[in-house]
């Protein structure tokens, strides 16, 4: 396919514009019980240009979540560097939309969405304006005083999105934010996410299992290899913005790109499955397992 680029050229092809995120030689090793060292990520290079919506797809256990957690500053790299080019106006470097239920059950919708701003000590009037805007954008204004247990899963994830956007970070990180939702809710939230994102066009790194989701949302898709995680291929998604989530699926290129990604992904998914099977393989010496 013409829109697939080899990973080696990834850094160079985007080097013309100034990258927002520059990652060089990033590796992550874990020690696991038994004294083994597992390499989750192996000398990883990546440039993400300013304003790009980058999606990472890869098989389970390929290290994509580890990668995102390193970007979020929740884990430190074993080797290499992550650089987020930022302004000096005191905005936070990143904000993450977590996988699953991550909004605080003990805070109202409003307080949840305002969390980052309150923690940073942003003036009250500004908090009110920003949070009000993003609750409006996510259709949560009526539920500002509600507690999370009163909301559906889709609405809880909207709060999580509002919280990340309201914090006005340099870059947005999203770790399979819609994976727990049903298909209909997922489609709705994808459309909402695109609409809100279009206001600011912040640089996004988005992780997903869903190839359809990747094609719908992103400018560029990175396919990761099975463990140790490497960039296997980059696929550009040429659709114009703003996008209509449903219209998009009607276009002939849509299927082509999905097919293209799947053909890159298939082999890695099989490899990942073999790795997983090997991990649970029965031990021959039950008493002295090692």
């Amino acid at each position: 396919m013409s829109n697939t680029t080899a990973p080696a050229s990834a850094a160079t092809t985007t080097a013309t514009t100034d990258p927002k995120i520059r990652i060089r030689g990033l590796s992550k090793h874990f020690s696991v019980p038994g004294g083994h060292v597992v390499t989750a990520l192996d000398s990883f290079d990546l440039d993400v240009p300013q304003g790009q919506f980058l999606t990472i797809v890869g098989p389970s256990g390929c290290g994509k979540t580890t990668f995102l957690r390193m970007l979020a500053g929740l884990e430190s790299p074993s080797e290499g560097s992550i650089e987020v080019v930022g302004g000096t106006d005191g905005r936070p470097e990143n904000a993450m939309v977590f996988q699953g239920d991550s909004i605080f059950p003990w805070m109202s919708v409003w307080d949840n969405a305002a969390y980052g701003l309150t923690v940073r000590g942003v003036p009250k009037a500004q908090v009110k304006e920003t949070v009000g805007h993003y609750l409006e954008a996510t259709g949560l204004t009526k539920f500002a005083d509600a507690f999370p247990h009163q909301l559906s899963g889709g609405m809880r994830q909207r709060v999580s999105i509002a919280r990340a956007f309201a914090n006005d970070p340099e870059i947005l990180l999203m770790d399979e934010p819609f994976s727990a939702l049903d298909e209909q809710n997922k489609t709705l939230l994808q459309a909402e996410l695109l609409r809100i994102w279009d206001e600011t066009r912040k640089t996004v790194v988005f992780i997903t299992h869903s190839v359809d989701e990747a094609v719908t949302l992103s400018d560029r898709i990175m396919v990761m290899s099975a463990q140790p995680g490497r960039a296997k291929a980059f696929i550009d998604v040429p659709f114009e913005r703003p996008r209509d989530v449903l219209q998009l699926r009607h276009q002939p290129e849509y299927g082509e790109i999905v097919y293209d990604i799947w053909s890159q992904l298939k082999e890695e998914v099989e490899k990942a499955k073999q790795q997983a099977d090997a991990r649970v393989a029965p031990k021959r010496h039950g008493l002295f397992r090692r």
Binding site: L74, M96, F98, S102, F104, M107, Y115, V119, R120
Partner: protein, 276 residues
């Protein structure tokens, strides 16, 4: 529910019972809950008056209420209540406050946990009543002995539940706080404390009950010569059984009141918990 399930032998009977369970309205159930203790009281009254129950050991409930009224109108009840309530409140506070602090520290810090946990695990199973002589030895026959004794009873359930609560706050919430740049104290205030609050309240509920038990033991055996517990013991020795029952009733009412208060405060402190 188990006996309902056992009684349901045939599928049709089971279906009928499920339906019955659904159709029983809340008010019906509440009426049953009020009637059943009343039935017991009425039966008690009748059997006692008829001589079926030995009146010396089971004075009729009306006589017990009469005795309570005598205690109340003479001012005796109020005097004893001042002594006991002060001990209970002081003991509760000096037991619960350090328990919450230590429980939170254990939940947040693995070193503190490793250091404190074995001590708590070793002390917890010792019957609290058996330690009273030791407290008398340490602190003498003073009012403070009773405070510390009550405090000890309150301490254990609160510290254990607080620790469990803090330790069980999902790691994702700490990740969120860190990702949004929260400093240590903010993490404590916005994540650890509210996350553990439901467990802390459970601990306080159990602690309040335990405090009342400790109070009764200490007043019966601590030699202060006053308080509800002393009155129970003294009435027993003087064989004024009606007034013994009267003070047992006071204990029951205070226990109920404590549970209501802690429950009310608990609901105010955890408005996010759904209660249906």
């Amino acid at each position: 529910m188990t006996n309902v399930a056992e009684a349901a032998r045939t599928p049709r009977a089971a279906a009928r019972q499920v339906e019955q369970r659904r159709t029983l309205s809340r008010s019906t159930l509440r009426t049953i809950s009020i009637l059943s203790p009343l039935v017991v009281l009425v039966a008690w009254e009748a059997f006692s008056r008829a001589g079926v129950l030995d009146e010396r050991f089971f004075p009729a409930p009306t006589l017990i209420f009469q005795a309570l009224w005598v205690e109340a109108s003479s001012g005796e009840l109020w005097t004893q209540t001042q002594h006991s309530l002060t001990r209970l409140i002081v003991g509760f506070v000096i037991g619960a406050v350090p328990a919450v602090v230590i429980g939170v520290a254990m939940g947040l810090n693995r070193v503190v946990n490793a250091a404190v946990r074995p001590i708590i695990s070793a002390l917890y199973p010792v019957p609290k009543s058996a330690v009273l002589p030791l407290f008398l030895l340490f602190f003498g026959l003073g009012e403070d002995t009773i405070w510390y004794f009550v405090a000890m009873g309150v301490f254990f359930p609160v510290v254990i539940n607080t620790y469990t609560g803090v330790a069980n706050v999902s790691a994702i919430f700490y990740d969120v706080a860190e990702n949004f740049g929260a400093k240590r104290l903010t993490v404590f205030r916005t994540v650890a404390l509210p996350g553990a609050m439901p467990n802390v309240i459970t601990g306080l509920e159990l602690g309040a009950g335990m405090g009342l038990i400790m109070l009764a033991i200490a007043e019966m055996m601590g030699g202060q010569g006053n308080g509800w517990g002393f009155m129970v013991w003294n009435s027993f020795q003087l064989f004024t059984i009606e007034s013994m029952y009267a003070y047992l009733l006071v204990f029951a009412l205070v226990g109920l009141l404590l549970a209501l208060i802690v429950g009310f405060v608990g609901r105010k402190l955890t408005p996010w918990i759904s209660r249906h």
